[in-house]
């Protein structure tokens, strides 16, 4: 029974889970509050969850781990910045709509309570088509290089990020909160989303207990949003297309013999991954409070990849459960190690531990014997 469980979960996962558990147990003894740690973990979980979800379609369709996540993130960044750039125009257009149909209360809502949700929604609405287009090209590219997807994805991600570095400087953004003050052009490296859609999901329905003994903050809205996206992915994987996608990843020859268009399924999967990446970064930003441009998205793929692998996924099989478990474990370790280890050893080892755990996990997945035929 226990043996079976260990076999299913895999040693690295169990060790890391036990390590995390030990950290939580040890926390009170070194003066770290468990409740705030837990809150932090939950916040980080919600922030990163959607980006980790973006791994699922590509892994399931046999395109390997999506090291090209930065491409999706770029779409998200474009959506985010454009939503701020056009924020007032969008709101004006919407309130015009309200005036047109003589619904003044709607008009008020647009300009007050709904202002921020509309900003957030517009970011996503702008980002998704961009992500879909980028994903389509990216998918076509990956179909041509079957067998080498991961390495190429990595460098497609890198080169797109560095390409966008030039673009951020040159694109004709005008909004004063976003461009460099002295030059009047070129976007800043970090842009605050305060006043636009800061914590628009995190604070919705948030549970915030702040008494003398307990400080607990649960970003309910963000968690619900994550659950909602996860549900969509889950349902999608159960549709006819989703089933075909899984079969393509499991055995492309079988899928082809069953009349499935393998390349098309892979393209759809890549597009989905890219779109989820775009949505993921916007969710991340609304909680984080800043849009990080330029080299910001550079290494964002690695934590997401490590999370899903930590959750028990392999290079060609991944599910929602893997995402939830993996993200929680990974973010838990990220939250707990700095506080607990640092108070114990009086040194900041979190960065090093993050490097070793996340890359060790990816390495473990890459060197595991994959089934024959691959």
């Amino acid at each position: 029974m226990i043996k079976k469980f260990i076999e299913n979960a895999g040693w690295p996962r169990i060790i890391i889970a036990l390590f995390l558990l030990a950290l939580f147990v040890a926390a009170p003894f070194v003066g770290v509050r468990v409740d705030t740690s837990l809150s932090n973990t939950l916040v980080r979980f919600g922030m990163n969850g959607v980006m980790v979800l973006a791994m699922i379609p590509m892994v399931q369709a046999g395109c390997g781990l999506n090291f090209g996540l930065p491409l999706g993130i770029i779409a998200g960044l474009l959506g985010a910045t454009l939503s701020i750039e056009w924020n007032s125009e969008i709101l004006a257009k919407l309130s015009e709509l309200g005036t047109l149909y003589k619904i003044s209360w709607l008009n008020d809502l647009f300009l007050t309570t709904w202002r921020e949700p509309i900003g957030f929604a517009s970011a996503i609405i702008i980002a998704v088509p961009i992500a879909a287009i980028l994903g389509w090209f990216y998918g076509k590219l990956l179909n041509r290089v079957k067998g080498d997807e991961m390495m190429i994805a990595t460098y497609v991600g890198f080169s797109s990020v560095s390409f966008m570095c030039i673009a951020w400087l040159l694109l004709p953004y005008k909004h004063p909160t976003m461009v460099w003050g002295y030059a009047g052009k070129g976007l800043r490296t970090t842009i605050s989303v305060e006043g636009y859609w800061l914590h628009v999901l995190s604070d919705a329905l948030a549970l915030d207990i702040n008494t003398e003994n307990i400080h607990l903050y649960v970003p309910t809205g963000m968690l619900i949003f994550f659950a909602f996206v996860a549900l969509i992915v889950w349902i999608f994987m159960k549709t006819k297309t989703g089933t075909a996608m899984t079969a393509v990843g499991s055995n492309p020859e079988f899928a082809r013999a069953s009349g499935v268009n393998v390349d098309r399924m892979r393209t759809i999967a890549v597009m989905m991954s890219t779109i989820l990446g775009a949505v993921g970064i916007i969710v991340y930003e609304q909680s984080f409070g800043f849009i990080q441009l330029y080299m910001g998205p550079f290494y964002m793929a690695l934590p997401a990849v490590a999370s899903i692998l930590l959750g028990g996924a392999s290079v060609n099989k991944a599910g929602i459960l893997n995402v939830i478990v993996g993200t929680f474990l990974f973010q838990g370790i990220l939250t707990m190690t700095p506080s607990v280890i640092n108070s114990y050893l009086q040194t900041d080892m979190s960065e090093v531990i993050r490097l070793i755990v996340s890359n060790g996990m990816i390495l473990y997945a890459l060197t595991r014997k994959v089934r024959a035929g691959r």
């Binding site: 549709t239 006819k240 089933t243 079969a247 055995n251 020859e253 013999a257 024959a372």
Partner: protein, 547 residues
């Protein structure tokens, strides 16, 4: 050496998992002899070679019986290198040459001539530089022995196929101690003239004292080259006699002939079936279920060039032939899995080739010979495996609105899977077990179930009994017969095992070197099929050979 033969086999036998593949093989080989070893696929030739070469697969499956002696001393090899050290060389059917290397580099691969290096002890001999001059010289002399003229500096990838074969043989000759050479189908890729040069070369080689074992399906060549012929059938040595005492026809019948085994039942020929021998008038009235004209298929290692045949509705049609001659390409090509051309008509309607979806749409189903590669989703549960194709092509096992939103109906899938698990008695823990965890026979049943779920009009099956045990074999074949009888489904079976085809089929087509050598009713004597397989009919027609 005295009177001891070069190689003596005594009572060699071998079982794989209780499956006897070789029994009581004994023969001698003397220096300078050329021996022809012939037998059908599965007769045990490759197992015999594996034992002689000490392939790890033999030891890992429990070793072998009997003894092997070289120069009268008993030997037992556990790795191919030991066999090589004892002077046994082998030229495999598929090339093992490095394309970017020159002829000389390939001939001397891992036996390069090295300059002495002062650093060889500190690191190893591998840091010594190559002596190109000496290597070319050795390569040249090895090639020269074969009587061909190939420059040692020629890059292998730029050589014609025939040359590559010579390079392979030259590599074995170059080994200083090679005394016994096994050649597995060396002429299969050669043109007529090249084959002649090779045969002359081999004779020369034998005259220099090297014993040669020549394995080939081209019986005329075997007869021309070899002094003695050994025929293997069903793991037994059927005959060992000088070649002049045998005609090619006799050899062919010895290989396939099972005259002693009378067939107990001839499959009943249903009325709809028309064969070439009977009822030629009826043929016009009944539309063939499948009509294939000038089909070519580009399947690696199994190419067919120009194939035409017709299959009647309700018929069980067999396609036989030796491995590598293209029989597998026919169903694979029709189903669109490999690039194909020509015309294929089902019930009079033209089928779009190269699109699996089109073939599946015509209510055709396919059971692949490559179970693990094409036939199954090894990492997915059984119900997925069984219902996936039907779901994707026929829209079954789904709920929702077509084209807009359709979710799979796990319940229905499981129900269907359970039905087939009972029907075909698949041994498993349930519909959610992974297909990869089943045994070969049960996996084959899953593949059949997958095809049956499609409710096909035409069912194409490749190698239905490959790699499964006897019990499962009968069950699979019986299931097919029964399915044919109950549903009137047209079934096309491709198999290397002639007996199996003869026991279930109405008619059998034999494919030889990419072409159909002939179509005969299954009731014809096995010998006739054997002759077709060996390409004798064609040769006789062309008048090149007379027995």
């Amino acid at each position: 050496m005295g009177n001891n033969p070069l190689l003596r086999l005594e009572h060699i036998g071998k079982e794989y998992y209780g499956n006897r593949v070789l029994s009581d093989i004994s023969f001698d080989i003397n220096a300078g002899e050329i021996i022809g070893l012939v037998g059908e696929n599965g007769a045990g030739k490759s197992t015999l070679l594996n034992i002689l070469f000490g392939m790890p697969v033999i030891a890992s499956t429990g070793g072998y019986e009997g003894s092997i002696q070289i120069d009268g001393r008993k030997v037992s090899f556990t790795s191919p290198n030991q066999a090589l050290a004892h002077g046994i060389g082998m030229v495999h059917q598929e090339f093992s040459l490095i394309p970017g290397f020159t002829a000389a580099e390939n001939i001397l691969l891992n036996r390069e001539v090295l300059n002495a290096s002062s650093m060889r002890y500190i690191f190893s001999e591998r840091v010594s530089t190559l002596d190109r001059e000496a290597m070319n010289g050795r390569a040249r002399s090895a090639i020269h022995t074969l009587g061909v003229n190939i420059s040692p500096d020629m890059i292998v990838s730029e050589m014609p196929v025939g040359y590559k074969q010579f390079i392979e043989i030259a590599r074995e000759i170059d080994r200083k101690n090679t005394r016994l050479l096994f050649l597995d189908e060396p002429t299969a890729v050669l043109a007529e003239s090249e084959a002649e040069i090779l045969i002359t070369a081999l004779k020369k080689l034998a005259a220099s004292g090297i014993a040669i074992v020549f394995i080939s399906h081209r019986l005329s060549e075997v007869k021309e080259l070899c002094g003695r012929i050994l025929v293997l059938r069903d793991g037994r040595l059927i005959t060992d006699q000088p070649s002049y005492t045998l005609s090619t026809r006799q050899i062919a019948s010895l290989m396939v002939g099972r005259e002693s085994v009378r067939r107990e039942e001839t499959p009943e020929v249903t009325e709809t079936v028309s064969t070439e021998t009977d009822a030629p008038k009826k043929k016009k009235k009944i539309r063939p279920a499948l009509k294939v004209e000038h089909l070519w298929v580009d399947m690696p290692g199994e190419t067919v060039r120009d194939v035409s045949f017709e299959v009647m509705k309700g018929e069980i049609f067999g396609i036989g032939g030796l491995a590598g001659h293209g029989k597998l390409a026919i169903p694979n090509g029709i189903m669109g899995l490999y690039p194909a051309g020509g015309t294929v008509k089902t019930f009079g309607k033209k089928l779009t080739l190269n699109k699996p979806r089109a073939a599946l749409g015509k209510k055709m189903a396919f059971v692949s010979e490559d179970r693990r590669g094409v036939g199954l989703l090894l990492d997915e549960p059984l119900d997925w495996n069984i219902t996936f194709t039907a779901m994707q092509t026929q829209g079954r096992f789904l709920v929702g609105i077509p084209y807009i939103f359709q979710m799979r109906n796990d319940l229905a899938m499981r129900k269907e899977a359970r039905k087939f698990i009972d029907q075909l008695s698949i041994k498993c823990t349930g519909p959610s077990q992974k297909a990869g965890e089943l045994s070969g026979g049960n996996q084959q049943k899953v593949c059949l179930a997958k095809a049956f779920v499609l409710r096909p009009d035409i069912l194409l099956i490749c190698e239905p009994t490959r790699g499964i045990d006897i019990g499962a074999k009968t069950l699979v074949l019986d299931t097919l017969k029964q399915y044919n009888k109950e549903n009137g489904t047209t079934i096309i079976i491709t198999s290397s095992e002639l007996e199996e085809l003869r026991s279930v089929c109405n008619r059998i087509a034999i494919v030889d070197e990419g072409k159909i050598a002939g179509i005969l009713p299954a009731s014809n004597p096995a010998e006739d099929f054997g002759m077709l397989m060996m390409g004798q009919v064609r040769n006789e027609e062309e008048g090149e050979f007379s027995a």
